[in-house]
Symmetry: C2
Subunit: 456 residues, 2 copies
Amino acid sequence: MNKKKDKGYDIAKVQKGQERVRMNIRFYNARILTMKDAQILEGELWVQGKKILYVGDGSDVDTVYQELALESIVWDREIDCEGNLLMPGFKNAHTHSGMTLLRSYADDLPLADWLNQQVFPVEARMDGEMIYHLTKLAILEYLTSGITAIFDMYLTPETIAQACVDMGMRCVQVSGISGQNNFSQALELTERMYQKLNHEDPLLSYFIGFHAEYTCSRELLEEVAALAHKYQAPVFTHLAETQAEVEGCKERYGMSPVKLLDSLGMFDFGGGGYHCVYLDEEDMEIFQKRNLSVVTNPGSNTKLASGIAPISEYLRRGINVAIGTDGPASNNCLDMFREMFLVTGLAKLRENDAAAVDAFEVLKMATVNGSRAMNLPDTDILDKGKIADIIMIDLHQPNMQPINNIPKNIVYSGSKQNVKMTMIQGKILYENGQFTKAYDVEEIYRKANEIINGLR
Amino acid sequence: MNKKKDKGYDIAKVQKGQERVRMNIRFYNARILTMKDAQILEGELWVQGKKILYVGDGSDVDTVYQELALESIVWDREIDCEGNLLMPGFKNAHTHSGMTLLRSYADDLPLADWLNQQVFPVEARMDGEMIYHLTKLAILEYLTSGITAIFDMYLTPETIAQACVDMGMRCVQVSGISGQNNFSQALELTERMYQKLNHEDPLLSYFIGFHAEYTCSRELLEEVAALAHKYQAPVFTHLAETQAEVEGCKERYGMSPVKLLDSLGMFDFGGGGYHCVYLDEEDMEIFQKRNLSVVTNPGSNTKLASGIAPISEYLRRGINVAIGTDGPASNNCLDMFREMFLVTGLAKLRENDAAAVDAFEVLKMATVNGSRAMNLPDTDILDKGKIADIIMIDLHQPNMQPINNIPKNIVYSGSKQNVKMTMIQGKILYENGQFTKAYDVEEIYRKANEIINGLR
């Protein structure tokens, strides 16, 4: 076996080699948290093209050679992990990437003033090209936070998809059908995108969704449910985010948003809700019965003073809980480390119990549970045959030392500064604080500033 | 004026130069948040030795030359800030540095089990040399978070002081007098350290303090108060951290901890409390009357499920509020960005008001108010004659773009990843993700792991 370290791509050997398989990257000297369980493995991880070829302690690599009928392997790159940790990338299960535009544009205002006077007037003048550039800015930030897949609801699906393909980001889009905003995704557009974006690129997929009960008429909600039935598709929406939303729905329909939507057949093929701060007993039973996912957004719920979701109760009931950042106008950042600390920290405050929501449970939410909510089953754990959406956590940083318990270190002490590498589909897009040279990072920043200055 | 960029130290010119003043560093192309007000200045900042010689837009540098009777200046180093932000370093106004040992050692446990079964048995076996090494580990982490001064209460003041001097960290120590733990700082040691560490090194100072009302007898508290009177010194302590602590004090003495301590004359020369989650109306009036500082620790209060402090009310009353991380066994990190988001985020949740505690107010707590609590008046703002405790915030990161509002970006979106440089007393100790070469970082990590493995 070739043991040379970190050499460049060897063109000569590729051309000559009869037995060579196109191996991209061998990680060695790694700690590995596969997320199959809480064990930390010490060993190697091999990436071939878009997929993981081997994960293990290195004692059984002969079986890989035998399976492939190889005697030796020539690597494009061998990376000495120096004991740092490989784990599945984080799944950001709720965001509005294009809202990077409005980061810190107008905070510290009451919610209604912020939305009506500041956000909506600017948003109404955004077009698809602007959203293309603003999504690229968000993708840079996702990569710095180890996020390898996003569940994105925003205005112009085709330019969002283009930005993700151009940058190499995995993106599950969800339509934001709304009766209040002509600019938003109408039913016809949703159906067209559903057909198109689920088959265009392996990085892309598309879900049926709508903005929220309170921005849709009953007729529109029924049409969305009919579309879900037509495709036997799950549906996602903003759900029970604020007390006012739940009360308003009860006034309008005599029942909670969850019960209303379920009564319309909205969740007959699964799906779930973003936020879910205020679910009552019956709502939770519907979530259990329909196998729905809760996507919790603690940063946004905190900053907008919406409340604290009952995460411990969801877990007790076996409800799938994933984590999202929400959009950068309400958070204001796209940082999974902040969200992970808040998920458990706020649960501890809410339950008055320092033992509430264990750290490893939080890591599962940020990886495995996100993959489940977003229907990305090949990205959930590190295993042979899974897609290579992988991050490396830098343990050679003071906040990770001493190494008493790595999952707890990540959740309680981790920060973006610990993200040493972000790989999506076998491609390293961020490493040692630098983005791939394929990006023109300063141009993305320049564009974002130009757009907001033009819309002020 | 010499305009050459980033050259090395020019020995020849130093030896020849009749008119040269020993200038260390010229920062140019900088955005500067002096913290005198919320304005962002564009210009230059000059550091000479330990102090700031000039801050301004560059139009008035002639006056500096005239004052110094100079025609030109030769710089040790000129740093092109590329539009990044200079601001005063963060003051971590409550910590227990040596507890890095127990980071992630035993979390997700009820508080009593965690303390009695996990923390205390290990802590009882720690000695001064161990704490020296563990404090060095904490200092590395402070630097990555832009923290330039700490208010540290831990067990062995002389080895803590040595670690800080060896690393170049500014450290205000406070004695943790306690009746429950012989290992802790007794009255005699406190007085000896008070005399010694307030005069040993400009990086060091020392306050009188005690662990908490509930770990001291009334006699011991009276002795502490007498010591404070002898030196006309302020006193700090853990105060009203939990509801149980306040209730216990009321049972023992018929009054709240704040009222009890004030009745003993403890605060006749000022001081304040760490945590202060549960102050009642009369307690707050005592804080106002005695000019006491609240040091809030939202990360620790969240993780240990202690509660949310009424920060908005403290601000409304004009009480000085500073921010601390608390120790890394209860937080588990020493990250001022996490604390800053939590200060305002938790206030918003508590008050049910998204407008509660403005971002700039939070930055003041992390800088100016910390300096006031810690009696470090020369480190509060960036101005001519102030000590050069300065950080550079990297705005060329996606989470800081677009540049709509820099203070809001820092508080709501910032992370350790944005700390591009940390300077204490004119020395750059951390820059572009690297520590000064004077440190043996891997040896510090190795030591920390060796110590915990030896104590398990």
